[in-house]
Symmetry: C2
Subunit: 341 residues, 2 copies
């Protein structure tokens, strides 16, 4: 598979391409499903997850499907009391505000509690063309911890930082619990058919390097080891991480995902060319005229030319307002680039 | 003045220190004023601006006062229809959505339209101890343009990027108009008594390097030249700019402000040691225990030790929830650090 080969820095005939949030609201066929099911319902019904996961792969010539799920799903069996308020994002009823709260979080038997996602992975892998990779994913411990401590989304992560600085032992205990669940979850996803795992540390870029080294780094290598032992390569992604790339490399991941704030060339140099790199078109460029989208896509491909290990992607997830034709321009540009050299 | 000397990379007896948003809601004496006046009213009344500007300088041993104002004030005489909705931030009634909208923006006679802020600068400079610097400031063109195009605050700046990519000539015309007003404004602030100018490009870190080079860089040097010709040094600040530091240096500023996402040492190296650097304590650290605040403050001072040109500050503005005693710990640590070496 082209995507797996690129993760392993093996030569490929052309750069593989997929999009973060490629299954989502920008697609009319997804919005139609969402009229009938909530987000949680889709994730609980493997047949519906299958359908939603395959939608973008039917529409575009992509090199991967990514299982439809939410990074917060593992928090439900842990006892977080997670719901999704209409238009307001996740709400956590039983958040973490003390060492006692951390202790009360329940261990998770992934094969039971996350059975629908694992079953959906089996269904997708069975349906998907053999040369298209299936990506499983999970949220990284810091990002999950921030939701638990903030009680939902956050603008500045002040509660998370206050807890981290004032209750460092409890914070580390929380990270360790989340890392254990995450390691089990990603290993189970590989066993269920995922060819590659992406770990989303979506909010870790709110930490400076010293905090990352102290509070995040110790909890990461075990997760990547679990993926490797299960037999799959891994992609490690965060946004606003330009100052953390060396530490993220140390934390793990065969491929490091870059947002668009760093040039691909500079980011890859900071990571080291013995790792792969994923990215990094600004999702905002998808609102540009088609010739400009193509030009920007080629500019990124040019920065990676002549080196194995580049996966084309956006620098962040697709937004619901994205014009659906814009993605076709990107995919066509990546595909023709490969065959023209 | 210690702050001015540091801006010019001249030796100082100890590192100067001030805080972004040091006049603001975290101070009970500021909240008392805000019970009687709106934000716009404070800015329209030089005597009230004077009071609010001096509040933090009375409470802490700071090396600078920063004039109390809002970066969006120049948009009012341009005809933007700016109001501040209660608890919702700025709202712009006459936003920019076309080349025609850009044309309709009015030129500004700064001495008239921004007279209250200029008068307040004169009052503050007359009251302030002669060794304490008075900082004037303005929003940079991209940040101002983003408010005009988005109609207020934004989470992803998609409207701004869509306009930029689809109407590049109109976008450049908008930037040029804003740069002209900004250059006049900062020069007038120096004439009115500002010893240093800080240019806030608060949201420019949402652009990748290619966009910065094409859409922002051409409009910046004129502003910094205006400050220099008026006789003051300048500080150039943005957040999420780790991947833009070399370009920001090129754009101008005697000192470049760093957020906390990049280590001070790495950021300064990227900028070049022939420029000064300001920063970069995570405002979240102000929620830590006092000994941890002191330790983190010293860690930043250590990264700058032995080099002229460091101004101690946070990596972003103070938040309203900040415990007021935390700032005293930072100030005391910076002051004692200077005298102990």
């Amino acid at each position: 598979m082209r995507l797996v080969d690129a993760c392993r820095l093996d030569p490929v005939d052309r750069t593989p391409v997929w999009f973060m949030r490629q299954a989502g609201r920008y697609l009319p066929e997804y919005r139609a499903i969402r009229e009938r099911y909530t987000l949680i319902e889709i994730c609980a019904l493997p047949e519906v997850t299958l359908e939603v996961t395959l939608q973008p792969v039917r529409r575009y010539d992509l090199d991967a499907a990514i299982i439809f799920a939410d990074i917060l799903l593992p928090l439900i069996p842990m006892g977080a009391g997670l719901t999704f308020a209409k238009g307001e994002g996740p709400v956590i009823a039983n958040g973490v505000d003390s060492a006692g709260d951390v202790e009360r979080l329940r261990p998770v038997t992934v094969e039971q509690s996350l059975a629908p996602t694992l079953e959906a992975l089996r269904l997708v892998r069975a349906e998907l063309a053999p040369d298209i990779a299936l990506i499983g994913f999970a949220g990284a411990p810091f990002t999950l911890a921030s939701y638990l401590i903030e009680g939902g989304s956050s603008r500045r992560f002040l509660r998370t930082k206050r807890f981290m600085y004032n209750e460092p032992a409890a914070f580390h205990a929380l990270m360790e619990k989340l890392a254990t669940v995450t390691a089990d979850y990603v290993a189970s996803q590989v066993a269920a058919g995922a060819d590659v795992i992406q770990l989303f540390d979506s909010w870790v870029g709110w930490l400076g390097p010293d905090d990352y080294r102290e509070f995040v780094l110790p909890h990461m290598p075990g997760i990547f080891a679990a993926v490797r032992e299960a037999g799959a390569p891994s992609i490690h992604f965060g946004v606003d991480t330009g100052g953390l790339l060396g530490l993220m490399r140390e934390a793990g991941g065969d491929v490091i995902g870059l947002d668009w704030r760093t040039s691909l060339a500079a980011g890859w140099a900071a990571i080291g060319h013995d790792r792969g790199v994923q990215g990094n078109l600004d999702p905002g460029v998808l609102f540009a005229p088609h010739d400009e989208i193509a030009r920007r896509t080629r500019a990124i491909l040019d920065q990676a030319a002549g080196r194995p290990g580049h996966i084309f992607n956006l620098g962040h997830g697709l937004t619901p307002e994205t014009p659906i034709d814009s993605l076709r321009v990107v995919v066509d540009t990546v595909r023709s680039n490969g065959t023209s050299r």
